[in-house]
């Protein structure tokens, strides 16, 4: 019965529309065109959250800085293993930036808080153990170094207090000093001390300035946290360390210069390898920073 009805319907349609075939084709075409048309034109763009470093609110900083007299030293990475590095005199924070100091920065610059930070400037682990935007974790010492902050965030902080990040050359220069001398790099016990300090776990939980400072009065260069530098991305170590001493020439242009000048300086090897493994948006449990300033 239903079949008859269907046939009748078609017959009726045929009466009204004698030219069924072209009509069907046209309707099919129209449907395809109209319904699948709006693929990408219906894109709604959410307003980007403005988090530009240039719109920072400046804050005061009570952190002590030490003057480092300029000088030269044999760089760890250099052309023909003999690269002399020269640094001008500069000022450097006497300790890493602490959790409480960073909180002060966030209060005045909420665009850098955990929930507001721009995804371009930090990965998902940014301040991951903070309870809220302005809440330090309960089990964390406010005087311990702030970690799980990206290079962009560290830079923003530095700018907000009228400073900058130190360069690798500057950091390494200050790192040459032990308690008594400016340059303890030739003392094997100093390299040993540094290597040992790298073995302890969760040293980022310790308060700053608990140990003795170095020759310059600068604390916690070792045994606390890895530290961001302004030019950490100048380290070409790929992770393929067997290759790094004769660098991969397709990955890096002019790579031949990137040899290490002192193979026995394992501590520096470790530091440079760490820098080479980082990207600017990374946030790592044991990576913090301190600031520097031009004189």
């Amino acid at each position: 019965m239903s079949r008859l009805k269907q046939l009748l319907k078609i017959k009726k349609l045929k009466q009204f529309f004698p030219n069924m075939k072209p009509l069907v084709i046209i309707t099919v075409l129209l449907f395809t065109l109209t319904s699948c048309y709006n693929r990408y034109n219906n894109v709604s763009v959410t307003e980007p959250v403005k988090s530009s470093v240039h719109e920072l609110v400046h804050i005061p900083s009570s952190k002590e800085m030490k003057k480092i007299e300029g000088g030269s030293y044999l760089g760890f990475i250099g052309k023909d293993s003999g690269r002399i590095v020269t640094v001008d005199s500069f000022l450097i924070d006497d300790s890493p930036v602490t959790v409480s100091e960073y909180l002060e920065f966030l209060k005045k610059n909420p665009q850098w808080t955990k929930s507001h930070i721009n995804r371009l400037y930090a990965d998902n682990d940014y301040l991951h153990n903070w309870e809220g935007d302005f809440e330090i974790p309960k089990n964390v010492d406010p005087n311990s170094p702030v970690t799980n902050i990206s290079w962009f965030a560290a830079r923003a902080y530095a700018r907000s207090v009228g400073k900058r990040l130190p360069t690798i050359d500057e950091w390494e220069y200050v790192g040459l000093a032990d308690e008594q001398t400016k340059d303890a790099s030739s003392k094997p016990e100093f390299t040993e001390f540094i290597l040992n300090s790298y073995q302890n776990k969760k040293t980022y939980e310790n308060p700053i300035k608990a140990d003795k400072p170095n020759y310059y009065g600068v604390y916690d260069m070792y045994g606390m946290v890895w530290e961001w530098t302004s030019d950490f991305n100048s380290v070409m170590i790929t992770g393929e360390s067997r290759n790094d001493s004769a660098t991969n020439e397709t990955l890096f242009c002019s790579g031949a210069a990137v040899t290490t000048s002192d193979l026995k300086n394992y501590a520096a090897f470790i530091r440079f390898a760490m820098r080479g493994s980082l990207k600017a948006d990374y946030t790592v449990n044991n990576l913090g920073f301190r600031c520097a300033k031009d004189i």
Partner: protein, 355 residues
């Protein structure tokens, strides 16, 4: 006539099918062409995540399964562990053990290597697998800072037993601290079946304190450069194959040892006191030597050692550079349990001398 013809056609078909199946079976020979066999092997479209097992045990044999996509998850973990009784060491590990978990795959597998660096690590790490045909054996692709992860895929082209290890600078230190393991790529059809399989890796350790000094020991880089270790051990601990950890086997069983040498410096002269290795897959490759007493395993190398447990008793596995075995810990035990076998070994009555 017609039925005879049909039978002939049928038998011809059967012959061709079985012949094709046996084509790449021989792990043992006829492979004079370069190993591009692996490249042409197609995976069957399925994916499996390899179930990880701690040493000295290994995952199930691949048998005659088809090549597939295999997911291998490794995590680099830095943790303090026991090097000897009362002596601790800051090990850097793959998956929390020294050596790292045994990876088992077959030729033609597409292996997805996911490497994660535990967030509590102090250092960046990566991995270089000697089974990989590709830059750095995967080292560049897997360079990970603490808390980060990376992944790469490689096709297993060559069957064999290969070492994997961390290759981050300073690479000597990463290896010396225990970051090594073995990856087995089984041939088409799998290795011949044996009753027991074990996974052992030798390593030399360099500590500030002398052998046996108690407490947490630090890595000594000068001793490492001088190639003068304090400990030479199996599986990261002087006691890893002793006491309740000794390997247990029954008489009559065939035993296969996947033996690797993480180094970083010393070559191992591996010998099982009281036994002869019936088969030694030389250097973990395709050639098989027979009736071997002591096999030389270079640092960064491996071999498959097989024997049949004929007589019950205690068999001691040693590095036959003998002072290492008795003074540095290169010693382990295989206990064979079962019926006596006097035809093979029998203690004789003392000879009575005429009074």
């Amino acid at each position: 006539m017609k039925s005879l013809f049909r039978i002939l056609v049928l038998s011809a078909l059967i012959f061709t099918i079985t012949a094709c199946k046996q084509n790449n079976d021989s792990f043992f020979g006829h492979q004079t062409e370069y190993a591009d066999n692996g490249e042409n092997i197609k995976t069957d479209g399925t994916t499996e995540t390899l179930a990880m097992v701690a040493p000295p045990f290994v995952p199930e044999p691949t048998g005659d399964r088809r090549a597939k996509k295999l997911i291998v998850n490794l995590e680099t973990i830095e943790q303090i562990g026991e090097l000897a009784d009362g002596t601790e060491y800051n090990f850097w590990t793959f998956n929390g053990t020294v050596p790292g978990s045994f990876i088992r795959a077959r030729v033609g597998d597409e292996i997805v290597l996911n490497l994660k660096n535990n967030e509590n690590s102090n250092f960046p790490h990566n991995i270089d697998l000697h089974a990989v045909n590709g830059p750095g054996g995967g080292a560049e692709a897997t360079f990970v800072a603490p808390g980060k992860e990376a992944s790469f895929t490689f096709k297993a082209l060559n069957p064999g037993l290969y070492v994997y290890h961390c290759a981050t600078a300073p690479v000597g230190m990463h290896i010396a601290n225990g970051m090594y393991g073995l990856i087995l790529i089984e041939p088409e059809g799998g290795l011949p079946k044996v009753d027991k399989e074990f996974y052992i890796m030798q390593g030399d350790f360099y500590t500030k304190g002398k052998y046996g000094e108690k407490g947490l020991q630090d890595f000594d880089i000068d001793k490492a450069i001088d190639e003068n270790p304090d400990y030479v051990v199996f599986n990261g601990n002087t006691g890893s194959l002793l006491g309740e950890n000794e390997l247990k086997v029954k008489t009559g069983e065939t035993v296969r040892l996947f033996f690797g040498n993480g180094g970083p410096n010393l070559t191992s002269s591996i010998h099982l006191i009281g036994e002869i290795f019936d088969n030694v897959y030389v250097e973990g490759g395709t050639s098989i030597n027979h009736n071997v007493q002591t096999s030389s395993i270079p640092a960064g190398g491996a071999a498959i050692l097989e024997f049949k447990a004929d007589v019950p008793g205690d068999y001691v596995l040693v590095d036959h550079a003998i002072f290492r075995a008795f003074h540095k810990g290169a010693l382990g035990k295989i206990k064979v349990i079962g019926e006596d076998n006097p035809a093979v070994f029998k203690e004789n009555e003392p000879i009575k001398t005429a009074s």
